[in-house]
Symmetry: C3
């Protein structure tokens, strides 16, 4: 084994490198966990939990909706439409995404599905979508700043969202 050279702080350099690597791993898992809160929040109708995932300037955009900020999210969760889905039995399931963390910003790209309970106790796959989620590190931890969602229907919009996740 080489002599440890305390004068050059080689151990400190290795510790600093580890701290950077561990923070990157923690950030990836934190973003995953934040993303995984969305489905339960909207499926139980917890508008505060759903709104709390977003920055004040957060935006959710899909081909069927545009939600502006936490207040817009909360209003969607409390809407008659969403309450009807909850009463029917709905599951908004995010697939395990691609995640890219860059400093205090992160992007997650992946699929989501909405399953709906049917009268005969079967389930319909109501929506299968492509998603681009953008996040920012805030004083309170990671928050979502933008979700762009488009149903996968053979058109170019969903493909464009997925393409963004494959970029280097």
């Amino acid at each position: 084994m080489e002599t440890t050279q305390y004068g050059d702080h080689p151990l400190e350099d290795r510790i600093a490198a580890l701290e950077t690597r561990v923070r990157m791993l923690e950030d990836q898992l934190a973003v995953q966990q934040l993303l995984n809160r969305w489905g339960p929040a909207v499926d139980i109708g917890d508008s505060a939990a759903a709104a709390g995932l977003w920055t004040d300037d957060g935006v959710l955009e899909s081909e069927i909706s545009y939600l502006d900020g936490p207040a817009g999210v909360a209003a969607m969760v409390e809407s008659d439409g969403q309450q009807a889905l909850i009463g029917q039995g709905c599951a908004h399931v995010q697939a395990f995404p691609l995640i890219a963390v860059d400093g205090d910003r992160a992007v997650a790209t992946g699929y989501s599905r909405v399953y709906l309970h049917q009268d005969d106790d079967s389930y319909a796959v109501w929506r299968v979508s492509a998603n681009r989620w953008e996040f920012r590190r805030t004083a309170d931890g990671w928050r979502a700043t933008r979700r762009t969602n488009h149903v996968i229907d053979g058109g170019p919009e969903a493909r464009e969202l997925l393409r963004g996740g494959l970029e280097p």
Copy 2:
């Protein structure tokens, strides 16, 4: 760069902090991996592998079953009902969950789906459920102590399970 103060052990403090953080990451991945063994174990009919995920006092409860300990799990896997599902072609797929680790305990909250192969080679989505999994660190690693599962049917039981995962 500041002088490294070996007398105060600042490097040792940083190492200790890293050890705690790395263990938290390892625990989260270990719980994920344990959870991901359940589906394959029950879908191939490996009753020993399915039973081996549980503590001796482990319990699985759903609106259609109550399994008591590893022996109860093994009996379910070997039952005529489960064997019929396996012969038909079944896939018990856990979605990527919310995970909270607290010392030697952990909770995972999320969705699961059971897909069933049909005679015309299509697939039915037979069950979409909410799950709360509880885990304990044992001398042999993480094991499941309780799974509470309820089909998402518009009723309050599934929502209550998901709500638990959103708590701070």
Copy 3:
């Protein structure tokens, strides 16, 4: 607190242990991320991105296809069959897998599903499969060397693939 014994390099040993543990975590996440690129690459028809996940000797085998190397993957993505699926709207969604890393090799075992958009805007679950993915660490990072895939149809082939992921 014990005296830190620099002469015995106990801090260096702890740092080395952390480096090994962090690398294991990074490898698991890297393999997950590589796997998560497959679906978007084939669903948007990016044959270069799909081919780029594989080593030169990579092989993809299923009960309906055999693809040999990156060129075979690219040809599949560009084929009339795959282009028709893309035009219809398809989502190749990998479930969150079991991952085992062993040095410069890794194996991921899990489920995948292909959802297809229908004329009435519903979705069919076209394929639910078992998968064994094998990976190798290369000079350019992790790459896939083999994917064996079989539809879950009640036969033994899919069960055999899942069984491999449960081995110690």
